[in-house]
């Protein structure tokens, strides 16, 4: 392995400590693929390849003087194309955000999301006591583990937006009904659930992430269950790839994996035709980061009436909705810098693909894309639906 001397030992050592294969950073050949594919690379003073060059040149302090790195949406596009296979997103990009955050270089929108998460366990600043309110009127009743105090087969980690966002709550309700129809023995943590913390971690708040993981780990430890399912790919990513290093080990699957495994049981229940041309948006943390591409598509394909079409960016090459890595809480900041939104780019592609429905599988996406359909010309009639909602519609529940 060719050795390149990195003058800034501290940040380099941090990258090594924080990521598997972090040492590959030395292998950067400055090809610039990462900066080219980055959806906001053209706006960054230090896109990934230039960041590495600055690090090598001992000019990392210059990086801390700019705020353009907050344009990074942790979408893994750079990591996916790197010929040297450098883990850029979880390594250098996230670590640099940590340094920015420690230096107090934090946009105010992000600051309030982080402060809310610290205090209330969710970035929206909602009452933790109301975390399970969305499930109040659902029949059959959604089991609250703290209340029923009995073992369940599946612990459903609902997540922040799925619990509190009025639009995303509709998806949670659909999924609750699907699980019940499949006779899955499941329960939720409700007020004992905290934000999974993954997006906060990717926005540079490692300490907050660890605090949240500890709280969730403690809540998991109180109850008996066989596996965890998540609505949110970010929660899935955190519990699968990050929690184990903190001593929190549980089998976890995204709900699309869980349902795809029960596809034969699902099929006879899908009686109502959903006549639509549907295109599927691969969420970054389900697809690119964790390799789950087929299960969501398999679920869509069994819905009677659905014709699946692909957008020009799909699978590994999918576009980010703009919500990752703190992007969810940097909308104003990113708008000021870019005057474009990644969600609008995606909606334009869905419209160009001739789709009636843009199907998603991440709680960040429905509100982001629905907003974008209102601003992208001609996309007003495009419907944004989570896979759970489309399945629910086909099941008439």
């Amino acid at each position: 392995m060719p050795e390149t001397i990195l003058p800034n030992v501290t940040i380099y050592e941090k990258v090594l400590a924080a990521t598997t294969h972090g040492e590959r950073l030395k292998l950067c050949l400055q090809c610039g693929n990462c900066s080219g594919i980055c959806p906001f690379g053209y706006l960054m003073v230090y896109p990934p390849s230039r960041l590495i060059a600055a690090l090598r040149a001992g000019r990392f302090d210059k990086v801390l003087d700019t705020d353009a790195l907050w344009m990074c949406v942790s979408c893994y596009a750079c990591t996916a194309v790197c010929p040297a296979q450098i883990p850029l997103t979880p390594g250098l990009m996230t670590l640099t955000k940590e340094e920015l955050l420690l230096a107090g270089n934090v946009p105010s929108e992000l600051q309030s999301a982080l402060e809310n998460t610290q205090r209330y366990g969710n970035p929206q600043g909602e009452s933790p006591r109301k975390r399970a309110d969305w499930a109040a009127d659902i029949q059959p009743e959604v089991k609250l583990l703290g209340k029923v105090r009995q073992p369940v087969d599946v612990l459903w980690f609902v997540g922040d937006y799925s619990s509190y966002h009025p639009r995303v709550q509709l998806i949670s309700k659909a999924l609750a009904k699907i699980l019940s129809a499949l006779k899955v023995d499941f329960g939720i943590l409700g007020p004992e659930e905290n934000s999974d913390g993954d997006s906060q971690r990717l926005a540079g708040e490692r300490g907050l992430f660890e605090m949240l993981a500890e709280k969730n780990g403690k809540a998991f430890g109180k109850y008996q269950f066989n596996e965890i399912i998540t609505t949110d790919p970010h929660a899935y990513n955190a519990i699968k790839n990050e929690y184990p290093a903190l001593g929190i080990n549980y089998p976890v699957r995204h709900y699309t994996e869980f349902l795809a495994e029960r596809i034969d049981q699902l099929k006879p229940l899908l009686k109502t035709e959903v006549k639509a041309k549907v295109t599927y948006h691969d969420p970054c943390y389900l697809g690119r980061a964790n390799g789950i591409f087929d299960q969501p598509r398999a679920l869509l394909e069994v819905i009677p009436g659905v014709e699946l079409v692909e957008m020009s960016h799909n699978h590994m090459n999918s576009l980010c909705c703009g919500g990752g890595g703190g992007g969810m809480w940097l909308d104003g900041f990113q708008w000021e810098k870019a005057h474009v939104r990644l969600s609008e780019w995606r909606v334009r592609e869905a419209h160009a693909a001739g789709a009636d429905v843009l199907a998603v599988a991440c709680p960040y996406e429905t509100p982001r894309f629905e907003d974008a359909t209102k601003t992208v010309e001609g996309a007003g009639s495009l419907k944004v639906r989570d896979i759970a909602e489309l399945l629910g519609e086909a099941m008439s529940i």
Binding site: L101, G104, Q118, G125, S127, G207, L208, E210, M211
Partner: protein, 253 residues
């Protein structure tokens, strides 16, 4: 130069407030306390003064639920000394808080005392003027910027209608902060956790809490729907005639 910041915790309005069985106080069973937003600005202003003039910055707060986190966070931002006033401060009014805090703050021989200009639970006036009275110091409120020089301070005071005055205030004095010169800074959780291991909170007992001077609460209640408004319709003349009739009936004409 010694700068002291008095901070209080107030009911967090993210949780719904309920009145307890006595009918004159909040039910504390589900009540969560949070730093008074204006006091958070007072801490930020204190940290800015320390960064600019190298003063000794002390944060003083009553011992209630959540106070340790608040103090450690202030330390992570740059405060030098943390003091927790012991006592049963739950439901205590500002008169009692000001007297207790004054006893502690006096011992610090402060050149400047700053605190939030108001809080959501100020039922008996804000803390600042009460504290100034107890300490025998002048008070200026609605301050949004401070410059310190030997023996005096210049305060930017906000007035309604977008007017700002700059006034010299002879020290020692108490200033009520409307807003710090910059929004309160973010401090990473890892930094606060580090501080928790190294910083210490000094505990000081105050004389018995003395609430006299504040009002007696007769009844505490949620806003109640009052009688509906009457919509008067018709032409301008008809409306005017009806209005005159109503005013006569009410005895104002």
């Amino acid at each position: 130069m010694n700068v002291a910041v008095l901070v209080k915790l107030v009911p967090d309005l993210v949780e719904e407030l309920t009145v307890d069985a006595s009918g004159v106080a909040l039910d504390t069973a589900w009540l969560r306390l949070i730093i008074n937003e204006f006091d958070d600005h007072a801490i930020e202003q204190g940290v800015l003064l320390k960064e600019r003039s190298g003063c000794q910055l002390t944060i003083v707060a009553p011992d209630v639920e959540g106070v340790d986190d608040l103090l450690f966070t202030a330390s992570a931002k740059g405060a030098d000394k943390l003091i927790k006033i012991k006592g049963d401060f739950n439901g205590v009014n500002n008169h009692a808080l000001a007297r207790a805090a004054a006893a502690v703050i006096k011992e610090l021989h402060p050149d400047l005392v700053i605190t939030g200009v108001q809080a959501n639970n100020d039922l008996d006036g804000s803390v600042g003027p009460l504290l100034a009275e107890c300490l025998g110091m002048p008070y200026v409120g609605y301050v949004s910027g401070i410059t310190l020089s030997e023996g005096k301070s210049r305060a930017r005071k906000e007035y309604p209608g977008g007017l700002i005055a700059e006034m010299d205030v002879i020290l020692p004095a108490v200033l009520g902060i409307q807003a710090a010169e910059q929004p309160p800074r973010y401090v990473a959780v890892s930094k606060v956790r580090q501080v928790m291991k190294t910083a210490s909170i000094e505990e000081q007992s105050a004389p018995a809490l003395e609430p006299s001077g504040g009002p007696t609460i007769g009844r505490m209640f949620q806003p109640e729907a009052a009688a509906h408004a009457t919509m008067i319709t018709g032409s301008a003349d008809e409306v005017a005639t009806k209005l005159v009739g109503i005013f006569k009936e009410l005895g104002v004409l």
